[in-house]
């Protein structure tokens, strides 16, 4: 495979001259506070449903990180009259697929089924959302599996560097410090009572966004959807945390020791923005040029020109609270310092020189060109984008006006945003690799440096 860019670019949308518009949809608020959004479209005979509960990692009690993911997984493990195995069987018999998970600001269920099986598929979803049983034996299994998943991820440094970075980058108590799944430590603090409490807090009408798109007739489908979304008690709207952007007064470096690693996997972070930030369009363009596509400055320098890595990119978080801008790459152990030095040189030049009109034109065309297939092509993509607008309190103009906002960018505007956010000082380095081989040269990046063994449970960093 040539590049893994596609996988990492989830936040990056992209066409030529014309504008994009969301298809027509209906939105209503049900008596219990739930928001119901319907978008019929007749492409393939499939229907996608996305049920989103506000909250996610933001509402997890201290020491119980991952409880949202555990709760969501438990909801499909026995509900109504169906056992966990029966739910699996019923879904598979219909050829339906159900994905459920949690992220920083929400928990979600994403169900896709053949249009003709709507009544059966929706009945299963109704049981899962409104009548979960939370059997004790299933919870023990789910938690033990979660702990083993973390152990498995630590065998793969490419998978482990992200959770370590988050634990290190965000201060104690910050909801983004945890990756959203339970780890070897937090599983011991999660029990049935806590899961049940978490479900009651989260699964309330006031927190529910219920979106369906695909091959249905609204007259027949709307009553089915209203029945499910309207069945939950109104409950209390979750108390969203106030924004607290990470601040750093000095560079720090966390080195995670994996003695058998033959490459160093590194992330270099700085504070970024949130999803509603006015600099979003400018930073999307800036990040596209910096590390958001194949010809980006980072990938061009580290991969194409120097052959130091299979890929170098930068990640721009766009969550409800302020996240990170992070350089992300890996290189053979022996070229660790060379690769990091080069990444820093690219950052310094970018922060200092900014971008040109020609670069901006190219980035804009790239974002626009990829946007339709990235976000608007399938029913499940449309469900995701409609739920996202609701979750972040944005209207349809966020999409319909997106290309206009890109068109309004000038090099001056983008460069001002770069100066505000791409800071070459007080960077936060997280490295996973063979500490014995790289510790000495790693020390030059930050006086505050700590080493932790990958065998230590959890992802929490030592005190700095």
């Amino acid at each position: 495979m040539r590049t893994a860019f596609g996988i990492l670019l989830m936040v990056l949308p992209g066409i030529a001259s014309s504008q994009v518009r969301l298809p027509e949809f209906t939105r209503e608020q049900l008596p219990n506070g739930a928001i119901l959004i319907l978008l019929p479209r007749h492409d393939v005979p499939l229907v996608s449903v996305r049920a989103v509960f506000r909250g996610g990692a933001e509402i997890e009690p201290q020491g119980m990180n991952g409880i949202t993911a555990a709760t969501v997984e438990m909801m499909r493990r026995g509900a109504g009259k169906r056992t966990a195995a029966q739910i699996d069987l019923d879904l598979d018999f219909l050829g339906a697929s159900l994905n459920a998970g949690a992220n920083r600001q929400s928990a979600y269920f994403s169900l896709e089924f053949l249009a003709k099986t709507a009544p059966e598929a929706m009945a299963i979803l109704a049981d899962i959302l409104t009548q979960p049983a939370f059997p004790e034996d299933e919870l023990r299994k789910v938690l033990a599996q979660a702990a083993d998943r973390v152990r498995s991820s630590k065998d793969n440094p490419a998978a482990a560097v992200g959770p370590y970075f988050n634990g290190f980058f965000y201060p104690a108590g910050h909801p983004y410090r945890h990756s959203g799944t339970p780890d070897e430590l937090s599983v011991s603090g999660i029990n049935r009572e806590e899961v049940l409490n978490h479900y009651r807090r989260m699964a309330a009408g006031k927190n529910l966004i219920f979106v369906a798109a695909g091959d249905f007739d609204s007259k027949q489908f709307a009553p089915l959807a209203r029945k499910i979304a309207g069945a939950l008690p109104a409950g209390e709207a979750v108390n969203a945390a106030a924004d607290a952007a990470p601040r750093f007064d000095r560079p720090r470096l966390l080195l995670v020791d994996k003695p058998d690693a033959t490459q160093t996997y590194f992330r270099i972070g700085m504070p970024g923005i949130h999803r509603r930030h006015p600099d979003r369009a400018a930073l999307l363009a800036a990040n596209t040029l910096f590390g958001g596509r194949f010809t980006s400055l980072l990938n061009d320098a580290l991969r194409v020109n120097a052959g130091l890595t299979y890929g170098a990119n930068s990640i721009l978080d766009l969550d409800r609270l302020t996240g990170a801008i992070a350089i992300n790459s890996y290189t053979p152990t022996a070229t660790t310092a060379k690769a990091i030095d080069l990444a820093l040189e690219v950052l310094n030049q970018f922060a200092g020189k900014g971008i040109t009109q020609e670069q901006l034109d190219s980035a804009r065309a790239y974002i626009k060109g990829n946007f339709p297939t990235d976000r608007l092509e399938t029913s499940d993509q449309l469900c995701a984008i409609l739920a996202e607008l609701e979750l972040f309190g944005l209207g349809r103009d966020d999409i319909d006006g997106f290309f206009q906002r890109l068109d309004a960018l000038t090099p001056e505007l983008v460069n001002a945003a770069i100066r505000r956010h791409f800071t070459a000082g007080n960077l936060q380095f997280c490295l996973v690799g063979n500490a014995a081989a790289i510790e000495k040269e790693a020390a030059k990046y930050a006086k505050s440096m700590k080493v932790v063994s990958i065998k230590t449970e959890g992802f929490a960093p030592p005190d700095f």
Binding site: G14, G95, A261, Y310, L376
Partner: protein, 438 residues
């Protein structure tokens, strides 16, 4: 209701299959063009399937197909180094590529406005690729890093490579697509040029255009840019046939890890084996979804593994039924093996219940739809059917072929392929001191 659901799915699919309208044209140089119109989004997916992969390589130059896949982006006569990516991204497009044992596939996604540019750039590199020694050396580093990530720093990748090298003793499927590390360091310029001449003939390529495009737009571009590329000899036939396996083979890998791994491989036929639909049904019964036999027993009931992966992929030469398990902490790969083999034996002895067979067919047919959701999914499906199953038209027959599979077929084929003598088992054992405490 359960039976009915199955019938609904088949009926609905048949209707959709007629919607997969394709215009087919073969240029005078032998290059085949398939065009599918889909105007949902203003974008196009252009997929080029070259029928060359690691099966066409030789010892000493393993991985060269994959390396060549990288080289195709490094400059040609009209569009020099970096220009393919620069021009494409500037026009709002994006690309990737992948190499397998059988094919090398170039995948371009772009707004319809970039259609002519893409034909021009693809033709340029198929016909006039340049070979700059400096770029070759730099790209060697990139591929080494890719290998370190996908093999050396991945327990799964390490074991998978060893398993294949054990399961095949004669056929080229025995070596990794990315190549052995020593070969990556050793390719010569002449190896690269010879590979280009061998694999990149227009008559060795199927082009699929899917999306916001009409045959009236795409065909003249194909004629203008692709047709002048001269025809060449296609790759020589792969003569070696893997000899029948005469008894179980085993391979063990010891390395630092938290958790063990288990993999098992069984020889099966190629994509054009008439039993291929039976393999697909068996794959779904055993490992398709959470209700599958292996997931329910190994993940849920016995809690021996984290995930139960298993299945087949279409291949040009006889391929593999492959299973892969991340073993849970404190569990032994041998316990997983015992349960796995019991399940495989059961499938060869007891007829699968009608309802379970219907469930598997429903899952497979629903998955067809999922592949038809996007222009890139359709481009990939059309090319795959054209290359591996003889014609894109076979997509239309696929639902009926699945529907025809009987419980007796499943029993017969499972008994044959899952015979212990046809098996290669691989285990990854964490080295002492590296295990996780229970």
């Amino acid at each position: 209701m359960r039976r009915l659901a199955g019938i609904f799915i088949v009926a609905a699919f048949a209707m959709e299959a007629q919607m997969v309208q394709v215009t087919e044209h073969t240029l005078s140089n032998g290059m085949k063009i398939l065009i599918h119109e889909d105007h949902d989004v203003p974008n196009v997916a252009l997929y080029l399937f070259f029928k060359v992969g690691s099966r066409n390589e030789r010892p000493g130059a393993t991985g060269i197909s994959h390396f060549f896949e990288h080289m195709m982006f490094n400059g040609a006569k009209k569009y020099g180094p970096k220009q393919f990516d620069i021009q494409m991204e500037k026009a709002g497009g994006r690309n990737n590529a992948y190499t397998s044992r059988d094919v090398t596939v170039y995948t371009d996604w772009f707004p319809r406005t970039a259609l002519e540019l893409m034909f021009d750039m693809e033709a340029d590199r198929i016909r006039d690729l340049s070979f700059d020694p400096k770029i070759v050396e730099s790209e060697r580093g990139v591929v080494s890093s890719e290998r370190r990530t996908s093999v050396d720093n991945s327990p799964f990748g390490t074991l998978y490579e060893q398993l294949n090298a054990t399961a095949y003793i004669a056929h080229p499927y025995q070596w990794p697509v990315v190549g052995w590390a020593s070969d990556i360091e050793a390719w010569t310029m002449e190896d690269l040029k010879a590979h280009y001449r061998m694999g990149y003939a227009p008559n060795n390529c199927v082009v699929v255009v899917s999306g916001d495009v009409t045959p009236a737009e795409a065909l003249p571009l194909a004629k203008k840019y692709f047709e002048p590329i001269p025809r060449q000899d296609p790759p020589p036939p792969v003569r070696t046939l893997e000899p029948p396996q005469l008894g179980e083979r085993r391979v063990e890998v010891r390395r630092p890890a938290n958790l063990p791994l288990l993999m098992a491989s069984f020889h099966i036929g190629p994509a054009r084996d008439p039993d291929f639909p039976v393999y697909q049904v068996i794959e779904t019964i055993l490992a398709g979804g959470r209700s599958s036999r292996l997931h329910q027993r190994l993940v849920e009931k016995e809690q021996l593994v984290l995930n139960a992966g298993g299945g087949v992929r279409p291949s040009l030469d006889p391929g593999q039924f492959l299973f892969s398990f991340q073993v849970r902490s404190g569990r032994k790969p041998s316990d997983v093996e015992k349960s796995l083999y019991e399940e495989l034996e059961r499938l060869g002895k007891e007829p699968v219940p009608a309802e379970e067979l219907q469930k598997a067919k429903n899952q497979i047919l629903a998955d067809f739809y999922r592949e038809l959701k996007t222009i890139s999914g359709k481009a990939n499906l059309l090319g795959t059917y054209e290359v591996f199953f003889g014609s894109w038209n076979e997509i239309l027959n696929a639902p009926a072929r699945i529907e025809k599979v009987s419980a007796e077929d499943v029993k017969r084929v499972a008994a044959r392929i899952f015979a212990p003598r046809n098996r290669t088992a691989g285990t990854l054992i964490p080295e002492p001191g590296a295990e996780v405490k229970q």
